[in-house]
Amino acid sequence: MAVEHAASEVPTATEYIKHHLQFLANKEASGVIDFSVIHWDSVFFSVLLAILFGASFYVAARRSVTTGAGVPGKFQNFVEMIVEFVDTQVRDIFGRTHPYIAPLALTIFCWVFLFNFMDMIPVDLLPAAAAGAGLSHLKVVPSTDVNVTFAMSLTVFALIIIYSIKIKGIGGFVSELTLHPFHSSNIFLQALLVPANLILEGVNLFAKPISLALRLFGNLYAGELIFLLIALFTLSAGFGGLTTLSGWGGVFAHFVLGLVWAIYHILVITLQAFVFMMLTIVYLAQASTKSH
């Protein structure tokens, strides 16, 4: 906790948590929805991780070695494992590979996994370094930003609508929303049933992006908050506690609790990236095949 900057200003528990939950924004939000606010730290880390993922996979593809010319290196094997894994999922659901959806699924899986992986970095490390460089707040996990997760899920939602219209036509898309699940051959009864169908299918359609975004956000937000709470309750004595026995007890408790939660969190971050990818593939498959 920032005792080194102002010895008279040790933050209280709520202040510590509130400070860590605030983004490095260009201005204060003037309400729940304010489109002029930019979270510089989310933008920076998401772009940085995108460059990291894109550049390393590109280098692996460029330097890839096929049979006869040499033995594939470890990184190429690793990249091939991930690409094959994603391709298997796409084949399972689509029945064939897809030139656009498979790379989209790969990007979503790796990018969301890298976002989530930033949560494994000790919670005070990068913000303290940033405070040394003059930045007041820093949140390093982009998927704890509702804006980032909604950006990804709204993009997927736009793709769902585009694929639906492209493959089923506008008439097919509208008829799927208005003529299912209640169907009747009598045209007057059908016209009466259209509002009920629209409500049911509309909820189904809009629940897709909202649940995609909020599932990832909720999981990562809760995980980060628990790391903060573990740090808060066990290390509240600060560096001065290292001279006392209770201080060392706190360090030991922090190690144990932090380790347990971090190990569970490894499962959570991988699972959430996998589920985001799988649901994207499933929604796009539903959009591009005529069911019913």
């Binding site: 909020l214 937000y221 996998f274 799988m278």
Partner: protein, 88 residues
């Protein structure tokens, strides 16, 4: 002052209910999910990896609304919009 205390008390109660109901639903859901998975693997052990993958997918879907609730509950705890309406 008393209004603030009442709003804060109600918010704390609401946060507790959100967490509790979410935990209740998730626990029952995962129990049923895990039980069906074990039955499926007992019937056809060769399908175990496939069923495990599908189980994790459904587990994330079961979890989703509970985590959405946790997100809102934590938002109410640390940036309570109801008190902002009172004092601001």
């Amino acid at each position: 002052m008393e209004n603030l205390a009442q709003v804060q008390g109600m918010t704390a109660l609401a946060v507790g209910i959100i967490f509790g109901m979410g935990a209740l639903g998730t626990a029952i859901g995962f129990g049923i999910l895990g039980g069906r998975f074990l039955e499926g693997v007992a019937r056809q052990p060769e399908l175990a990896p496939l069923l495990l993958g599908r189980m994790f997918i459904v587990a994330a879907l079961v979890d989703a609304v509970a985590f959405i609730g946790i997100g809102f509950a934590l938002f109410f705890t640390f940036a309570n919009p109801f008190t902002a309406g009172l004092t601001g």
